[in-house]
Amino acid sequence: MSPYLRAMTAILGREALRFLTQRERFLAALVRPLVWLLVFAAGFRAALGLSITPPYQTYITYEVYIVPGLVAMILLFNAMQSALSLVYDREMGSMRLLLTAPLPRWWLLFCKLLAGVLVSILQAYAFLAIAYFYGIRLPPMGYVWVLPALLIAGMMLGAVGLFLASTIRQLENFAGVMNFVIFPVFFLSTALYPLWRMAESSTLLRDICAWNPFTHAVELIRFALYLRLNLEALGWVALTFAVFMGLALWGFDPARGMMNRKTR
């Protein structure tokens, strides 16, 4: 096995072990979308009627509409959680240990990112299973088709988190950033309402949502769950991943990035 794969296996294995020993974190990550699905969506069902829009071929209930957005929400919160743990690891020193391994830094960061995304995907599937028993039935093959969509959307959101982690010097600054990132990104997207609904209240809001990369992550997942490929969403997600991964690598590059700033 090459040193690259050996390091990747070790980093993924470590994350898996951490995941197994922190079951509370797993459950906590599920509670949030479940509250949205079981409480919020149930309450809005009567108020929000949804017309037939792709990828749906018939009228759907609000609970059905909201599921892809809540799956993306799991990825989003986990990406930020991973970024927070990166900042913590850097302050506590274990990130230093990782970065002194004799492998390219981009590879180490990529492995770290992938490990976080795989854990998120497990959580997304656990949520989809609960949603199934709640009565949200998706095409059976949709559960398979959505896997690559979850992977690329998770990588995009993870790259955003990695970039944030590279710019934030101290743990206590992270909470503020989380609020400024997570909530606007989530609410200004198609996770909760379709774009045409947004346009009814404000075209500016609709345009902002249309530009939001998280919207494209949600749509990529939504279409994949119904066995369809949304090429535009895939393009935007891939582009956003490339940009933020590049910025994150720049941020973690000891020669050019922000690593050279002293923590005060």
């Binding site: 040193p3 050996r6 470590r14 002194t100 391994a101 000891p254 050279n260």
Partner: protein, 240 residues
Amino acid sequence: MDALEVADLSFRYGRKEALKSVSFHVASGEFCALLGPNGAGKSTLFALLTRLFVARQGRIAVMGQDLQAAPRAALAQMGVVFQQMTLDLDLSVARNLAYFGALHGLSRRDAALRATEVLERLDMAERAGEKARDLNGGHRRRLEIARALMHRPRLLLLDEPTVGLDARSRAAITTHVHGLARDDGLAVLWATHLVDEVTPSDTVLILHQGQILQRGRAQDIAPEHGLAAHFMALTEEPAA
């Protein structure tokens, strides 16, 4: 060939100059104590030596490998113990070592064999199955040293490794690391502000305000009043 060669190294945080044209070398088998008061620049120097930071001026070479030009080759020759503890507390001693071994390209089998060796070397063989969380401070440090030795480095860097430990643990760790330099021919750079960790035959580097003030054998540089008094006099801050 020197295990570590530092030439004309400078570094600034914005306008503040943290290191000013620092040059020194550490030979194989040499125990070099980097003495400096708090804020002298020791941690910055360590960050540069481990490539967490990159200096825009100066050169660092490990076993002849330039850290800037060939970082992977240089890092592969280096074992590091950071000032802050970097163990995964949820993992066992053996798993901590296996994880690090894998990061350095060791196969699972080689890592297990090497882990047994290094744990025996540091008198920790019987603790292989214990969780890192259950170890006391001294044993956690020993585990970190064992981990730093997993990939058979030729240079061992330790940044204030005895901070927060009791006298017995400190003595045990300094004895172990001196043994690694003496018996295994390992080059050791040991940063500290505690003069009593230095033995007379050690090489001493005194770093103050980002500059190397003195380099020499401990027994030679302060034969009259002792190293502690000499260090205090050299690094005394002017009265405000």
